[in-house]
């Protein structure tokens, strides 16, 4: 609880969180404004998909930066050393710090999307289940990239390193991962499609998107070919849970193994 409170105070005094949130707010309002011409009954789904497609460019990098700089600040201000010499070891510090980060980022985000729902109510026929799935998708995405950010913050020794690693991680998941899979695509057969699918859904952006679009009933997986059936060897929600579990565990593990307690400017 102390960590959450400390994280909260640090973040509301800083600009990072507010800047990130204001970007999300501006984006969502501008998309709502642009969607005002859409139909009453289907416009809601169109808006959510468009909003997701836009937000997906920002949430990962913002969360990466917030996570990384939050950990790094502990190093800069020497509070990390103080905390570790007192009673915490690094895993317990990281766990508490991560919980603090989740709370501080997700509470304002969830608060905004609750307000946003009220704005939507004036314009569209709401589908609460779909909206909940949308919010869950955003939360999952934030969790994964916050934890990755925390890992970057743990092993980085300078701000430049943080910026470098963050941009690399963002670039990897945004472009490189899918690009590599695209180059393997001609060799995908019925024998190796499951493996290919596992790598495909290892990308949080793809796992979250599939969960959202199928959950909302927009993307239909009815009447699939055999290859596609083998590709979707489990439900999208399980792909997402697996993805969350893998990346949270890897990020946590890397942060613990490679953490550096000292940072320098």
């Amino acid at each position: 609880m102390h960590y959450i409170w400390k994280e909260w105070k640090e973040n509301i005094r800083g600009k990072g969180l507010w800047l990130s949130l204001s970007i999300i707010v501006l984006l969502s309002i501008s998309i709502l404004y642009r969607s005002s011409i859409l139909s009453f009954d289907q416009g809601f789904y169109v808006l959510l998909i468009n909003l997701f497609d836009t937000i997906i460019y920002f949430i990962p990098i913002l969360c990466l930066f917030i996570g990384a700089f939050s950990i790094f600040q502990e190093k800069e201000q020497k509070t990390l050393i103080m905390l570790l010499t007192k009673k915490d070891n690094y895993p317990s510090f990281l766990l508490k710090k991560s919980l603090g980060l989740y709370t501080v980022v997700l509470v304002p985000l969830l608060g905004w999307f609750f307000l946003y729902l009220l704005l939507l109510k004036f314009q569209f026929q709401l589908d609460m289940k779909s909206y909940l799935i949308f919010v869950l998708a955003i939360v999952s995405l934030s969790l994964v990239f916050l934890q990755m950010g925390a890992a970057i913050g743990s092993f980085s020794r300078s701000r430049m390193q943080i910026i470098g690693y963050t941009i690399f991680v963002w670039f990897y998941f945004f472009f490189l991962h899918d690009f590599l899979l695209l180059s393997f695509l001609p060799d995908v057969t019925h024998e190796n499609v499951k493996l290919f699918s596992s790598f495909f859904f290892l990308n949080p952006l793809q796992a979250v998107r599939m969960f959202l679009e199928t959950g909302m009933g927009v993307y239909s997986f009815g009447h699939m070919s055999r290859l596609l059936e083998m590709f979707m060897w489990t439900k999208p929600v399980f792909f997402l849970i697996g993805n969350l579990f893998i990346w949270l565990a890897i990020s946590f593990g890397i942060a613990i193994i490679f953490n550096r307690k000292e940072g320098y400017e």
Partner: protein
């Protein structure tokens, strides 16, 4: 005394036994049988057992809660006489049996000049089945199927079989196999129907010269599949969010000489999917924000694309299987509006671009060879893939529009809005900063 008690008991049992249903059943069929030609039968707010046959020209009018419920062994209502009118009924409980010689429906019509309107249909294989029935009007009906399941386990919302000159208007169909299925049915008019969550919203097989106007297809596996059908008119329809891996807004398969105008194709996996089709005119449509705007297979020839607005698609148009013969992207000196897909100058301001636009892509080979490619269409990696292949010259020309239309002037209101928001954000941030400084100053003063 004993006899009286026995009589009372028997009478009580008779009353408690609730035999109304059977009586009503007998009554409904018997009533129909007893009616004169042209009579009007008003039904009450109650459930009548179905499997009735209407063999004379009568009108049946129900109320909000009038239900005709079949026993699940056949058609709930069969119409074998012409000029029958059905109004405001709920029809349910048709046979789902797929091993019978007949395909059953909630309402099966075998005759001409009938009117079926304001009917709610549930739990039936087909909704309304027109079998060799002509000049019927099917309007304002609400048909809901079983939802997502095995395709074959359920029938179609409206099944039009060897039936001509019918009007299908303002029906709402959801969760059936195909929304409307036409087989060997000509000269029908489908107007302002709403179809969602089906396999194909509209499925045409061997049906010619039908008109299809103002219908809305959303969230189907495929919006409309026109197969082996010619001389159709599709105007002002909307194909929205038909979004699955193999989905499309409109499929033209072996369909020739069709006129497709003024339709909206929005957020589909493919807006138009054209295969083995010839001489179709596609004009004045809006093909917007689809993964692939137009997928044109080489087996298709002599299509004309003109005056369409094709913008904000991941790929505006893709030609697969080689370049088809005679497909043109402009007519009478007017091409298509490609939005911001291509840089375009219009120095003489005649509304036509000064240079032709040519679209290159390398993805066609992957799309042809591997169906999983479509999973990547939303990935930003696709843009890099295309750029790299473009640099390596391993892409091909997808189409050339010799007379592209200058893009419509869009309002910059949204841009202004965002800029304004940013400005407000900046002021807030700066404001906070000054406020913090001010506080700090005050704190300093106090400390002193």
């Amino acid at each position: 005394m004993k006899k009286l008690a026995l009589l009372t008991l028997v009478l009580s049992l008779f009353i408690l036994g609730k035999p109304e249903k059977n009586l009503a059943a007998e009554n409904l069929q018997a009533k129909i049988d007893s009616l004169q030609e042209g009579a009007v039968l008003h039904l009450k707010d109650q459930t009548y057992p179905g499997n009735i046959v209407i063999d004379k020209s009568i009108t049946i009018i129900g109320t909000k809660h009038t239900v005709i419920k079949g026993d699940g062994t056949g058609n709930v209502i069969s119409i074998t006489a012409p000029n029958v009118k059905l109004n405001q009924l709920t029809v349910t409980g048709g046979s789902m049996n797929r091993n019978s010689s007949e395909e059953y429906a909630a309402i099966k019509i075998h005759t001409n000049n009938n009117v079926v309107e304001h009917i709610t249909i549930r739990n039936s294989f087909h909704g309304i089945y027109l079998s060799q029935a002509h000049h019927n009007k099917i309007r304002y009906n609400d048909i809901t199927g079983l939802g997502n399941g095995e395709i074959a386990a359920q029938g179609n919302g409206l099944h039009i079989y060897y039936a001509n000159d019918n009007l299908l208007e303002a029906n709402k169909i959801e969760g059936t196999r195909d929304g409307m299925f036409f087989e060997y049915a000509n000269n029908n008019r489908s107007v302002e129907n709403k179809i969602s969550h089906t396999r194909y919203g509209l499925h045409y097989m061997y049906s010619d010269e039908n008109i299809f106007k103002g219908n809305v297809f959303t969230m189907n596996t495929g919006g409309a599949a026109i197969m082996n059908s010619n001389h159709l008119k599709l105007e002002d329809n909307q194909f929205i969010i038909n979004y699955g891996n193999q989905s499309f807004g409109l499929l033209l398969l072996q369909a020739n000489d069709n006129y497709i105008a003024g339709n909206t194709f929005f957020m589909n996996q493919r807006g138009l999917y054209i295969d083995q089709a010839t001489r179709n005119t596609i004009t004045g449509n809006r093909v917007i924000q689809n993964q692939i705007g137009i997928e044109l297979w080489a087996s298709s020839t002599d299509q004309i694309f003109t005056l369409n607005k094709i913008s904000d698609n991941t790929f505006p148009a893709i030609t697969l299987g080689g370049s088809g013969e005679g497909n043109t992207w402009s007519q009478h000196g007017k091409g298509n509006d490609w939005g911001t897909s291509f840089p375009l100058t219009d120095l003489d301001q005649n509304g036509i671009g000064d240079f032709p636009v040519t679209y290159h892509s390398s993805l066609h080979q992957l799309l042809e060879d591997q169906e999983l490619t479509s999973l990547f269409l939303k990935s930003p990696a696709i843009a890099i893939y295309e750029k790299i292949n473009n640099t390596l010259n391993s892409d091909e020309i997808m189409f050339t529009d010799k007379h592209p239309l200058a893009a419509e002037k869009t309002s910059h209101a949204s841009l202004l809005f965002v800029a304004l928001g940013l400005l407000v954000g900046l002021i807030l941030l700066k404001g906070r900063h000054y406020y913090a400084l001010h506080l700090e100053g005050m704190e300093g003063k106090h400390k002193r």
